[in-house]
């Protein structure tokens, strides 16, 4: 019963090494180039040689990909000017070279220490993602870390063709502390980890259809899910938008009146909430399917 390293605990570099074909990762703007944030330096905050995002070229299953991984430990994986420009550049390169592009997200959103520069960078990256999509170049967001994908990075992830999540991943905009501050601790206790994960975690997102795959907290499983999606893309067509509009309207109508995630789970066909809570990602996915 030995297990490999948990994906959510790996560093960005470890994740990349484990996701791509062995030895295939070729880092762009690698640490020896020492491109570090002048903002943080001015503020007396330690800088990092990759500015919190590792980007590069690699292969997955022999297929060429561009891939980025955010470093959650470094300023919460937040997007600053350099960090954001690396992401924009990578997606632009993907669109230009018609190479699928993957972003392993671990970020609370915009790096406040760099103000609006990070915000604009996220908006620019979104444009670049849609450039890819217009050319049917697959874009995939991987969300499987403790920090999750929040703020602008949460929104950015929803611009990609596909999202691969683990039960550890969380996808949202406002983080638990912001919600608690806004609604009061009674209405939302951010220290109630079970509630936080049921609000924004991979399982709920998968049930609702916002995650395309819910996989083990393990690089091998994520790699497999990515490999399956690499040949596909989700076109932005009028028909697709109308269908999605209906789906989202239906979701809001069905569940907009409840604050209880369990009600959503039940509504989506999960029968045994307790067992489903403890189940691993794929087990959960199977249970949800059976429920339906």
């Amino acid at each position: 019963m030995t297990r490999g390293p948990l994906f959510h605990e790996q560093t960005a570099r470890q994740r990349l090494a484990a996701l791509v074909d062995p030895g295939s990762f070729d880092e762009l703007l690698p640490p020896p180039e020492r491109i570090t944030s002048p903002y943080l330096a001015q503020l007396g905050i330690p800088v990092s040689f990759d500015d919190g995002v590792v980007i590069g070229k690699a292969k997955i299953g022999g297929r060429k990909v561009y891939i980025a991984a955010q470093v959650g430990q470094f300023v919460g994986g937040a997007v600053g000017e350099i960090h954001g420009a690396k992401l924009t550049g990578l997606f632009k390169a993907a669109a230009r070279d018609k190479v699928p592009c993957i972003v392993v997200i671990e970020s609370g959103g915009v790096r406040l220490h760099e103000g609006s520069a990070g915000e604009i960078a996220i908006a620019e990256t979104m444009r670049a993602i849609f450039e890819c999509r217009a050319k049917k170049v697959p874009t995939i967001a991987v969300i499987g870390s403790d920090i999750g994908a929040y703020g602008g990075m949460g929104i950015l992830s929803t611009c990609c063709d596909f999202r691969v999540m683990s039960e550890h991943g969380r996808l949202g905009i406002s983080g638990p502390i912001v919600i608690e501050k806004w609604m009061g601790k009674k209405a939302y206790d951010s220290s109630n980890r079970a509630l936080v994960w049921k609000t924004s975690g991979g399982k709920t997102k998968y049930l609702l259809g916002d995650a395309d795959a819910l996989v083990h907290d393990d690089a091998g499983a994520i790699r497999e899910a990515i490999a399956k999606l690499l040949g596909k893309s989700s076109a932005v067509t009028l028909k697709a938008m109308k269908t999605r509009q209906k789906e989202l309207e239906k979701r809001l109508k069905r569940f907009g009146q409840t604050a209880d995630p369990d009600a959503v789970w039940k509504g989506m066909g999960v029968r045994n909430i307790e067992a489903a809570s403890l189940a691993s990602g794929p087990e959960f996915a199977a249970m949800a399917k059976r429920g339906k």
Partner: protein, 241 residues
Amino acid sequence: MKKPSSRALFAKLFGPSAKGISVEKSVLTGYAAAGGTKVCVIGTCDGTYVDNAAALRLAAHVIDCVEKHPKTPIVMLVDSAGQEPNRVAEMLGLASYFGHLLSCLELARRKGHKLITVATGQAVGGAFICYGMFGDRIYALDSASVGLMPVEAMSAVTKIPVPVLRKLSRTMPSLEFGAKPFALLGGVEEVWSAKEDVQAKLAKAIAAASTEDNRAELGKKRGGRKLALDIRKKVLAAAAR
């Protein structure tokens, strides 16, 4: 600067045709005209918070425009303090609702609709990212509050004292809050004074708009965001090797 009322503002931008804009729970949808050109209008007012329902209404209107009014420019007005930070919104996937709205706008762009944003009031955080910053060209009234967040809020979260941030913002406009510094970063094409003929400016902006994202170039040229463009180019060059 005193903030003009929403209706007065619409009138300034669209003249009498502004009556074609309906406001429901601070969400605007409708059709109007700017300098004789028919436009589709979506947006927010009253500094409202954007929630799932608001995103859906905006998206529905974009779809309507694409379906029924081919190539009609879409004008996006932004006056919103942020995304609705509540648990139900998050549980139901507010990010996905925003992603859907952005996808609808992208569809419109690909179908030949020009997308022009005018930040009229607050244009802050998630509420600006979820549609306004997705325009082909982005403008702001000088009365608008544009940016990530005011220095005080930034200080509260980062624990860096306000005076330090203020001092740094003199050389780093990115840290400053407002339409003008945002324009220095390239995030806003041009800041319009309410005293000017903004309708004419809007019409001109629509005519001139192109889909190429020019913000990094602008940011470099204006000196507010010196690194982004070069880093991006480096990545593109390195990827080609």
